[in-house]
Structures are given as C-alpha cells and as structure tokens.
Amino acid sequence: MTPGSEADLRDIVAVAVLAEEPLAIEGTGSKRGLGRPVQAARTLSLAGMSGVTLYEPEELVLSAKAGTPIAEIEALLDAHDQRLEFEPMDYGPLHGLEPWQGTLGGVVACNLSGPRRLKQGAARDHILGVRAVSGRAEIFKSGGRVVKNVTGYDLSKGLTGSYGTLAVMSEITVKVLPKSETEATLVLRGLSDEEAAGAMAAAMGSPAEVSGAAHLPAYVAARVADAALGEASATLIRIEGFGPSVEARAAHLGKALERVAALERLEPEASRRVWRDVRDVRPFVDGTQKPVWRLSVTPTKGHAVVMSLRMQAAIDAFYDWQGGLVWLRMEAGEPEDGLVRETLRRFGGGHATLVRASESVRAATAVFQPQEPALAGLSKRLKAQFDPKGVLNPGRMG
C-alpha cells in the first residue's frame, strides 16, 4: 500500500489496527536487511509521500515528506552549498544494492550517521521536528522548525532510530548547515591498531577541530578508493573548513603527528572518496552475506576489543569515530554473537548490532544489543503506549 497523503496514511494504519493485521513499514525497501525480519501481512510504503516541502537556506532548515529520496535532498542542498551535517551513511552497497536508493524517512528511522558524527552529532541531533501517525492511527507532531526549542518532550528524537516501531513518520524537518569550503585528510602510515588509537585520541584532543578519525588496518586500507592508499595501514584524520583555516590546522596537526608516523596528505577530491568508502563500509562490500557487526564502544577501547576477538575468531575489522565505531566482518560465516557481546562487556560495554546477515541468521540472532531488564521494561512500555496493537513493524527491534 502506498498512501499519497497523511490522511490516507492514517486510514491505512486505522484499518490495520481494526483488523489487527501488522504492517511492514518502508520507504523504498533499501534497508530491509537491517534489523530483524518483520512478520507482517502487508507492506506500507512511504514512496508515494515524497517531496521537499520547505527549504530556507538562510534559516538553515529543510522539511520534506518522509518518502523523499535522500539523494534528492542531498543534491538540492549541494546546489546551495549546504549539507546534512551528520553525513548519513548508506548500507545499500553492503547489502548488495545500488547506492543511495533510500529515503529521508529511512535515514531518520535508522538514525544513520557517518564519520562526521564524531564531531557534529548523529542524525538524532539534527532533527528539529516530525509529523507522524502512531500505532493508534492518530496524527501527531512534535518539535518545530527552529534549533532552540524545549517545548514539550522531544518526540522527534524518540522516533529517530525507532525503526518504524512507534509511529510512521510522514514529514521531517532537519537542521542543515553550510558545506565546508574545503577539506584535507592527513594519513599516518604503518601504525598498529593500538598506536593508531593513541594518535587519534591526540588529534581529537587538539584544537584542530578534526571532523573524522578512522583507522584502516593494512588489508582494509587497500580496499578503499580503488586502492589509492596502497597496502600499509592508514590512520585518517580529516580537517574541514575555510581554506586558510584548513591550511593552518593541517600544518599544526601535521607537525605534532609527524613524530608518530610517516605522514601523507589527501587533497579534497581524494579525501572525499576515501571518507565516502569508510562511511559506507566499502571494504566489506564483497558480494557475500558474511555477518558484519557494527560495534559502538568507548573510543580508546576499540582496538582492545578487536585484539581480543582476533585471538578467538577469524575476523576482519576497521575503525571510525576515533576507534569508537568498529566494523567487524566474521570470516567464518557465523555471527558468533555470544563471543562478540561478551568481549564488548569485558571492555567497558557499548553495543553490538548485526548489520549484515542472511534473513535466517537475523531471525535467529539478537540483532540489537540486548537491554538490562529495567531498560527493556521501559522500552516495552513505550512501544505499548504508541502502538498498543503491535501493528507497526512488529519484531523489527525485538
């Protein structure tokens, strides 16, 4: 079913509630491989609710219907030298799909952010307002179109990352920001994972306003930007901004880091290509269904988690967010969720999400990090408040 208006959308949910027949919610279906498989009689597609409804570049705000292609929004912003500051990532290639098939609603429902998340916040930090239909078949709105707003609960954040299980978003308002005039990436060569963690912490703790800090071990480094980085491990430090500022910061940071390792520098075009590939997990785009985990950990502990896992399983890994985001591919084909989560627990906690696996594996594995009982109870009660009949994407986050 493809509603063309918010009223149609509400009616479809109302019928589902009356019939107690669950709906699978999607935009274009590009993220079907994320989360647990949904058992639903029917699919509700937001693809028919598309289009930018408000864009005022000088006010740094954009509203669009949930089914608007994210590629359309990025192109519009780009034409005005602006961007989505959270640098949404794209799981398409990792799931064997063409890139950039998704919608704004999908990006927000899954809270997808890229490398710049480390400095500028996640998708949830840039959502100013939403309109949505809850599992009660009622239309509601939250937030507004201004940055500074504490009027009532922030349901916009509540819906971001909820995978369509609380409400179906119909329209979303986001904060946008000017594009950087230019960028550069410093590349430290040949560091071990542990040495890289130290170098990235030093860079992030400097006043250089680093907007990306990733580490690609040797095998992985060869698999970004058509092998432009060569074979040796590469630790990437990105600096963005106005020309003179980027020069000054790159020079300053380069001086501090040249004692640590051999240093190279990527100019804007090469820098953008490398970061795009890091963002979209291109090193693990291999045409297989080998399980891929996304670990969110204390940044300085990422390398220790990986080291411990390497001793016990065949894995491949690389790091973004100063080491706090670990992409992990299980080479033997099994998800080994017990091992992964136990290791995480031993190194200060965080969460592990299975972001690529066959449908049968995802049906049999806890895709999202299991929650402590008190927290799980609150989440369950929130779901029951918004979707008492369980008609919206049942089981997707379960």
């Binding site: 930090d125 179109r145 940055v147 009027t151 990352g161 909820s162 000054a248 940044p299």
Partner: protein, 497 residues
C-alpha cells in the same frame, strides 16, 4: 500567580508526620528538612512570582537513598518534585504542598575525567561551570553555557535541555550529553548511553533530556568535553534599524559562516547595559549585534574581515573588533549583564523565552512595540540572533496593582505571536508551570496526548513533578484507550488491501 496547581491531597497532608519519619529512616542525619523556617529557602526557584512550601525536603547522598525515597513515594502515592540548584526560570522546581522536594545538591562530585575519550562523568549537582573548572587545566571545557552557569546544576541542565549563547555552533545540552544514570519513580536504576556514541534502542536519553523532571531523577551524567578554541574575537556591529541587523545575520549565515555566538540587543537593552557596565556600546543605534568567531587564529582573522564587510554592506554605522581579550570580555559583559541592567531601570522585570524563525524578527519586534503600547509596559530585547531565541524583558512594578498580571498577559501575547510566525513557546527556559497553559497554542490535543503517553510509560501514576508542562492531567488509563472506529476512517468500505 495565574496558573493553578493540582489540588493537594488532604490524606497526604494529614499523614505528614509519618511521612517525615519514614524519610528520616531512609536518609539519616540532616538529610531531611521539615521545619517551615528551614524549608523557606526552597519555596521557589528562579520564577519567583510563584512560591509554595513543600511537604518536606529530602537531600539524599547516595543513589540507593534516591531509589529508596522514590520507591517509598511510589508505594505511598506521594508526589515528588526533583530539584537541582533551583535556578529554573519556568517554575520547573516549584514545590507542591503535598509533595516531597527531592534536592540533589549533595551529588556534587566530579566522578571521572577521560581526556582521551573527551568526556567527564559527574554527579547531577555539579554546576555547569564546575565541569569546565574541572577540565580547563588541560584546555578543555563544557560547551553549553546558560547565563546561570555559575549556579545551575548539570542535572537541572539535563532536565531543561539548557542552551546558552553558543548553541548554533555547539548545540544544546541534548547534543552534549553522552549518557545518564537515572532512577525511575518505581526506584529502578537505569543507565542510558555512556562513553560510547549512539545508545541504540529507543532514544530514551533524548526523551529524558528536557523532560523537566517528569520522567525520572538523574543521578549521574556523562558529558562531552571539548578542546577550547585556539582564539576567540568578537565584533560589535551597530545598525540604525533592527531590520538591517536581521538582514546582516541572514547574510552572515548565507556566506557559510557559523559564529560561535551571535547576539542582538535592541535600544532599551543597549542603553541599560551600557549605563550599567560601560561596555563601550554605541548608544546611537537601534540594534546592536555582537558576533563572536572562534577557532584557529587564521580562521578567525579571515572570517572577521568577512563579517565586517557584510555588516557594512547591510548598513552598519558602527563596527568595532575586539583588540584584546579584555575588550572581548567587555563586549560580552554588557550582554551578560543585560538582565540585572534592566533590573536597575525597573523595579521588576519578567523574562520571556520564545524562539522564532530569524527572518520573522522585524515582524515580531513590531508586534511587541504595539503590545507595549497596548499594555502600557516597556520592553527591552536581547536575542540569540544566531538561533532565533528571543528574550524580551517586560518591565513592570509588582507593587502597582495589576501590573504583574498585565506583564503576564503581555508575555503570553508575545509567545502566541512567536508560535504564529512558526516559532515555539520556549527555546531554553522550559515550560514548567509558567507556560503550561499555553501548550495548546502550539500543540493540538493528539500532539499533547502523545507526549503524555511517554509520561505514562515512565510514571503512570503521575507522581513525578505533577502540575508542570501539561495543562490537563489525563489519567494514563484514559490515555491508553484506543479510539479507532470504522466511522473515523474516511472511506471505510474502500478496498485497501
């Protein structure tokens, strides 16, 4: 005081002595305050027009004590009002006659500082500025800086999602908190987030932040700390009209420049501030911008030249760049002292807090001038121009019959106008009791009910901070009922599947 609070429960008032005894068992020593003269200091927060002595004040020292107090109150169905430093400007910490006031001021320790992961773990009673003080020896700071930062607590900042002058570039509290530990009304201890990014599952951290003490009691906060910018310089730009100042703000942003701070003051505020602190403000302009640029020296110098050029293009008659750290501080001193400065020219003032789309500023200022005439009260304006957050200060004299009431009506009209032009009722001060009854100006019935359903997931007996935020207290059982009927569906017989 025009907002009415829930009627106190006679049954609870009658049991007061037993409740005090039970709380003394949980929090021994001097942790329970029950004498009226000792409780007087807690009878109001920053919204001093509203005053109420609480049933009893409890100052726990451990998380276990907090949990035990909440379990007891939940079991006995006694309302609880959490309080940090009590600087809320919207009455968020206003006590209830039949409610326990749970004061977190003894939770005042910095628990750990982790420079490599750029975060600090602190107890909720630590002041906002206290965090910066604890980390600045290594060049770090905590970015959100509400004007009350010397006194306000980080727990209160989380409850109110506090802002400050640097929000456009550095975000609000919600964007700078990585995790919290909180206690539910049932006494369960829950941890959200931590030193890692993006706590997955439902964003309960996002819901807790700005929930005004209605969802849980925060007992620990993990905040992001940032390296201080290498340099910061400010420029004063004066304009003959506020329209030109507004156009200048838009032009700066259109150029891709996001200043660390961008403040605007109108003539009454400029005159009051200059007279008070002699900041060097021009007194012959209608609108004054303070634009602060921060970052590497190369960037700041580059952008300052741009901003000056944009200012002159937009009709600036004064343009003055700070030449020293002292001068920069002086530029800010005037702005930061704007409230007390206005306090010198009027016996009382009432501080409002709406946000508008920036482009609507001329319309809103014109509307305020008309209202000022209508109500016969003066108004001075300070404005976070970068993010559209207005702080009109309505001048009145509480000793004059009816002036407070007129000031409140004036304020309400300003907020209605903010909503009308696409803005919101409160940018950073919170709804509390002050703006509670205005919520329907911005939200429809279903909007508010969905917010209340969040409340029901956390506190279905409405024991935490009742009477705040929501104009009507719907019982959760009533909110839980489903109201979907075939007749409500536009075309019930249409084959849809």
């Amino acid at each position: 005081m025009s907002v009415s609070m829930p009627k106190p429960s006679e049954a609870i008032l009658k049991r007061r002595a037993a409740i005090v005894d039970a709380l003394c068992d949980i929090v021994p020593g001097e942790g329970v305050v029950s004498a009226a003269n000792e409780m007087a200091v807690f009878e109001s927060d920053g919204l001093t027009a509203y005053r109420q002595l609480p049933l009893v004040v409890v100052l726990p020292e451990t998380v276990e004590q907090v949990a035990e107090v909440l379990r007891y109150c939940h079991r006995e169905e006694i309302p609880v009002v959490p309080r940090g430093s009590g600087t809320s400007l919207s009455g968020g910490a206003l006590p209830l006659q039949d409610g326990v006031l749970l004061v977190l001021s003894k939770f005042n320790r910095v628990l750990s500082i982790d420079f490599d992961n750029r975060c600090a773990v602190v107890q909720p009673g630590v002041t906002n500025l206290g965090i910066t003080r604890a980390v600045e020896h290594r060049g770090f700071y905590y970015a959100p800086d509400p004007s009350s930062q010397i006194a306000c607590s980080i727990g209160g900042n989380v409850a109110e999602n506090s802002g400050g002058v640097h929000c456009l570039k550095y975000g609000l509290t919600a964007n700078n908190v990585l995790g919290v530990e909180f206690v539910t009304i049932e006494g369960e201890i829950v941890r959200l987030g931590g030193r890692h990014l993006d706590a997955e599952g439902y964003d309960l951290l996002g819901l807790m932040t700005g929930s005004e003490g209605l969802l849980g009691v925060v007992t620990e906060v993990t905040v992001r700390i940032l390296q201080k910018p290498e340099t910061a310089r400010a420029v004063l730009i004066g304009f003959p009209t506020s329209e030109e100042a507004g156009a200048c703000v838009a032009a700066i942003i259109a150029k891709g420049i996001i200043p660390g701070g961008m403040e605007m003051m109108d003539r009454p505020a400029i005159l009051a501030a200059e007279d008070f602190v002699h900041a060097g403000y021009p007194t012959n302009v209608e609108a004054l911008l303070i634009v602060e640029l921060d970052g590497p020296a190369a960037e700041v110098d580059h952008l300052l030249a741009e901003v000056e050029r944009i200012g002159i293009e937009n009709g600036a008659v004064v343009c003055k760049v700070s030449q020293s750290e002292d001068e920069r501080a002086a530029f800010w001193a005037g702005r930061k002292a704007a409230f007390p400065a206005v306090g010198r020219i009027s016996p009382d003032y009432y501080c409002m807090d709406g946000t508008i789309p920036r482009k609507e500023l001329p319309k809103v200022l014109a509307g305020m001038r008309a209202m000022s005439e209508k109500y016969g009260l003066r108004v001075a304006n300070v404005f976070h121009a970068g993010d559209g957050n207005l702080h009109p200060l309505i001048l009145y004299d509480a000793n004059r019959e009816g002036e407070l009431h007129r000031a409140e009506e004036f304020g309400n009209d300003i907020l209605r106008l903010c909503v009308e032009v696409g803005g919101v009722l409160t940018g950073e001060h919170g709804v509390g009791v002050e703006k509670r009854d205005l919520m329907p100006e911005m939200f429809g019935d279903d909007d508010i009910k969905h917010q209340q359903r969040v409340k029901c997931a956390f506190d279905d007996k409405h024991l935490l901070n009742p009477g705040k935020v929501f104009p009507v207290l719907h019982r959760c059982a009533e909110l839980g009922r489903m109201h979907v009927h075939k007749g409500q569906v536009a075309f019930p017989d249409l084959p849809r599947f």
